[in-house]
Subunit: 132 residues, 2 copies
DNA sequence: TCACCCAACTTTACAACGTAAAGCCAGAAA
DNA sequence: TTTCTGGCTTTACGTTGTAAAGTTGGGTGA
């Protein structure tokens, strides 16, 4: 791998494309759901997850369906004191992929914080242009 | 502020709601655009921004419009060598709000990485349930 | 000078998505 | 046996992201 030239690294094509940002995870609600689930590998009941993420029933249901269809979450329907109880658990693949996603997020944060430190003498555009 | 109890902090309602995640920024393409712009306070030409973020013309145009309507980006149309040249610049408010957003993102990353370290003996759900 | 091309965007059309509201079902209560 | 409630699912709809088509105007070759 060639050494990185700091003068050009920040302007390379695709520098800020963030291809790795898996769409399924990149959603406010789903971010919360996955973070909850990753912290509780044994699973979380539907109702508790709902509270943790401040979601409505329908909303959580829909997002879980999306995550399940992608294979990142497993849903176990059972009974607790003769009442339906849905337990959601992150899958191994889900955990892996989510942490990959989090790594990309980390680089976004790093890029943005680094960018925010740039002094205002950076080049804007080529010389010789004028407003219309 | 009461001291945080680690045994309950992770289960408080809304713990993973991430209300602060401004929707306008929470989009793959817009994340890249804003990070680019924050690193170049004097502005970036449309064409260069397009390359930096690997976006199509129409795509970038639409996203810029959204960011402009929210007041986070200003668009200056001018001429360069007798050709139209659009320069995009982040506004003061845009910069401020984007960095706020980035702070929330940082906490998401922190939460997720912390959660991923939890040992698999954490409580799952109440005792006494059985699969259907 | 006329036709054509290309650069630099903008607009349009459509499919996918997130969400609130309505619906459903089973057990408990009255 | 009707009503209520917990625990989800399904539906319907407005919003969004994106690719494709459209626009405008300066160059350029014939």
């Amino acid at each position: 791998m060639p050494p990185i030239d700091d003068r050009t690294a920040g302007t390379a094509p695709g520098r800020f494309a963030y291809d790795g940002l898996e769409r399924v995870f990149h959603e406010k609600a789903r971010l919360g759901i996955m973070t909850s689930l990753v912290s509780r590998p044994r699973g979380i009941a539907f109702a508790e997850l709902k509270e943790l993420c401040h979601l409505t029933d329908g909303n959580l249901s829909r997002h879980l369906q999306v995550l399940h269809d992608s294979g990142f979450v497993e849903i176990e329907k059972g009974l607790h004191r003769n009442r339906p109880l849905t337990v959601c658990r992150i899958t191994d693949d889900g955990r892996k992929r989510f942490l990959d996603y989090i790594n990309v997020l980390e680089s976004v944060v790093r890029d943005a914080l680094k960018a925010a430190r740039v002094e205002p003498t950076s080049p804007a555009i080529a010389e010789g242009w004028s407003p219309a």
